[in-house]
């Protein structure tokens, strides 16, 4: 098991390397002089030179890269150009809303989509199946921000059950937090659920046609036990894979959703940073998100060994 863990970690290294190289290259891909861009339109040549020296931009690229990596390993993500605060600090401030939103979304999605997919597979061809699949196509097609606005319109404006926008930290109480997080979570969850329901159904259909399911029925097991105990466990691997890959989708959706619902999280930070051309912040956020994605997929890989005893790395 330990050997397996180490091997997976090692496999993740090249991915992280590519990500860091790319993120680093971002700043230098900009047409023109990065220092000049950072300095702004009204800067003098002197100012620009000063900034260049401060940011170490006069060093050879390779040295810049390794200096930057060194800083990263110390947890130093640089400073925001706009606000001069350390990027890590900015990220830490905005972490809670994004994390709670993502966790809540994951929770809702898996809890609802997996059973839906199972039922759709079990009653394949029926109206239940068609509804679930229809819902899945919708969830995948309607853009997140459109759903968000529709939900706001229905629940916040027309029915006035929930607040229109904003975020309440957990510290202020569970229900206030929930009332603010529920609409954005549902918005974000819809596309994710569509994906999960589809793959669950496909995987279950494949599993249900296997011989051992027939054996399970021949033993006299009730349908629920056959579906949950025998079929789902076998169908789990592709489902868990997609959940892992779908996290990238989720992260992308977070950016848009936080914008719609005015949630002060990492997504909003990203958008602001983009508009202000605040490269260090952009770099830091991409690193954080990509790191999260890699970690999630590592966890997924480890889950494989638990789910399927035939997979032994």
């Amino acid at each position: 098991m330990h050997v397996f863990l180490i091997r997976r970690l090692l496999a993740a290294v090249p991915v992280i390397v590519v990500v860091t190289v790319f993120v680093f290259a971002l700043l230098h891909l900009a047409p023109g002089d990065p220092a000049a861009i950072i300095a702004g339109d009204l800067a003098t040549a002197e100012d620009v030179a000063k900034i260049r020296a401060k940011l170490g931009l006069d060093q050879p690229l390779l040295i810049q890269f390794f200096t930057w990596i060194g800083q990263l390993l110390h947890g130093d993500l640089g400073n925001s150009i706009f606000s001069a605060h350390p990027v890590s600090e900015l990220i830490a401030q905005r972490l809670e809303p994004t994390v709670t939103l993502t966790v809540m979304t994951l929770f809702i999605s898996v809890l609802l989509a997996v059973p839906l997919g199972v039922i759709a597979a079990w009653r394949v061809g029926s109206w239940i199946d068609r509804s679930v699949m229809g819902f899945a196509v919708f969830g995948f097609s309607v853009p997140g921000f459109v759903i968000g606005y529709v939900l706001i319109w229905v629940f916040a404006i027309e029915l006035d059950w929930l607040p229109v926008q904003g975020y309440t930290p957990l510290a202020k109480g569970f229900w206030p937090w929930l009332s603010n997080i529920i609409l954005p979570s549902v918005t974000l969850a819809l596309a994710y659920m569509a994906l999960i329901a589809r793959i669950t159904r496909a995987s279950m259909l494949e599993t249900l046609s296997q011989d051992y399911i027939r054996t399970a029925h021949a033993k006299g097991l009730a349908t629920r036990d056959v579906l949950m105990g025998h079929a789902l466990r076998n169908a789990a691997v592709p489902i868990v894979t997609v959940i892992g890959i779908g996290v990238a989708l989720l992260i992308g959706g977070v950016v848009v959703t936080e914008s719609v619902f005015a949630i002060p999280g990492l997504g909003r930070l990203t958008v602001d940073a983009i508009l202000r051309r605040d490269y260090p912040v952009i770099q830091g956020i991409i690193l954080v998100f990509s790191g999260a994605y890699v970690v999630v997929n590592l966890v997924v890989d480890m889950l494989y060994t638990v789910l399927d005893p035939r997979i032994r790395y």
Binding site: P14, V15, I16, V17, V18, V19, V21, F22, L26, L29, A30, P31, G134, V137, F138, F140, S141, V142, P143, G144, F145, V146, Y149, V150, I152, W153, I157, V164, I245, A248, L249, I251, G252, V255, V256, S259, T270, V271, I274, L275, R277, I282, I285, I286, F289, S290, Y293, V294
Partner: protein, 293 residues
């Protein structure tokens, strides 16, 4: 030794249940999606004739009007006719969608073919692709756009890049499977050149799933472009795109929700139509795919 067996041929001459028309009848959703898509494409192409007013002409005296006989969808905050803007908006979405789909497919195909065939290249390429997939698509696109001046071309390039890894993986897996087939070995043995093998054998097998994937990429690209425009990082504001029409209407949402929702509906319907067509293509091409392979 077993008893003599004749293979049970429980077959009956199938009545003509194949054919495109029959397929459409069996999958009504695909027919609807296809029809919708055609309608949208035609409407976008015919925008200059369908629009009632010049979409970018400002009319401050007519700001924020509700739908009326003059302005079917009402006006936006600059007094521009929403209906015309929405009709023109379709063009941006479709152009971006189709361009990205085409570009990503071509680039992905090229890389995938080479990567699947040459082991040395493969190792490097796959790591790079994995890395690209680890960065969320929107962030990648946004970051690229932030580096340059806003224009539709940049948007297309920025949205294409995150979609390439998907295609590369697909093509590569097909190439790897086909490579092992005996007939490829035979072809190599008689001296067929590698490019020729790629063209005559690998490409035809890769084409059906590629087409299906391209359709899905088109849908995804339309969504990403809309999201980017919505965030203000996509299509430049002068050019009406569904995303930025919605973005501009945001401050007035509580007042006039329709301004935000209407372009949204168009967006949703378009993407839905593309996805349905993609599903239909997949159902149509898959069994044939299985038979061919």
């Amino acid at each position: 030794m077993t008893a003599a067996t004749a293979t049970a041929a429980v077959s009956v001459t199938p009545r003509a249940r194949t054919g495109f028309a029959a397929f459409l009848r069996r999958h009504p959703t695909v027919a609807i999606g296809g029809a919708l898509l055609v309608a949208i494409v035609l409407a976008s192409l015919a925008a200059p004739w369908l629009a009632t007013v010049d979409p970018i002409s400002i009319n401050p005296s007519q700001r924020l009007r509700s739908p009326s006989a003059d302005h079917w969808f009402g006006t936006d905050r600059f007094g521009r006719d929403l209906y015309s803007r929405v009709i023109y908006g379709g063009r941006v979405s479709l152009v971006v969608g189709l361009s990205v789909a085409g570009l990503a497919t071509l680039i992905g195909l090229a890389i995938g073919l080479v990567s699947g065939y040459l082991r040395a290249v493969d190792v490097v390429v796959m790591r790079v692709m994995d890395g690209m997939m680890a960065i969320p698509a929107i962030m990648l696109a946004i970051a690229l756009i932030a580096l340059s001046k806003a224009s539709i071309f940049i948007v297309i390039v920025a949205v294409t890049l995150p979609e390439v890894p998907r295609v590369v993986r697909l093509v590569r897996s097909i190439v790897l499977t086909i490579r092992e087939q005996p007939y490829i070995e035979a072809a190599t043995a008689i001296g067929t050149s590698v490019p020729r093998i790629m063209l005559r054998h690998l490409l035809p097998n890769a084409l059906p799933p590629l087409i299906v994937q391209a359709t899905y990429i088109c849908a995804s690209a339309v969504l990403i472009e809309a999201a980017l425009s919505f965030l203000g990082a996509g299509t430049p504001p002068e050019v009406p795109s569904w995303g930025n029409i919605m973005a501009e209407a945001r401050p007035y949402f509580q007042l006039k929700p329709a301004m935000v929702l209407l372009p949204g509906v168009f967006l949703a319907v378009t993407v839905l139509a593309i996805n349905l067509v993609g599903d239909g293509l997949r159902d149509m091409l898959d069994p044939r795919l299985a038979r061919r392979m």
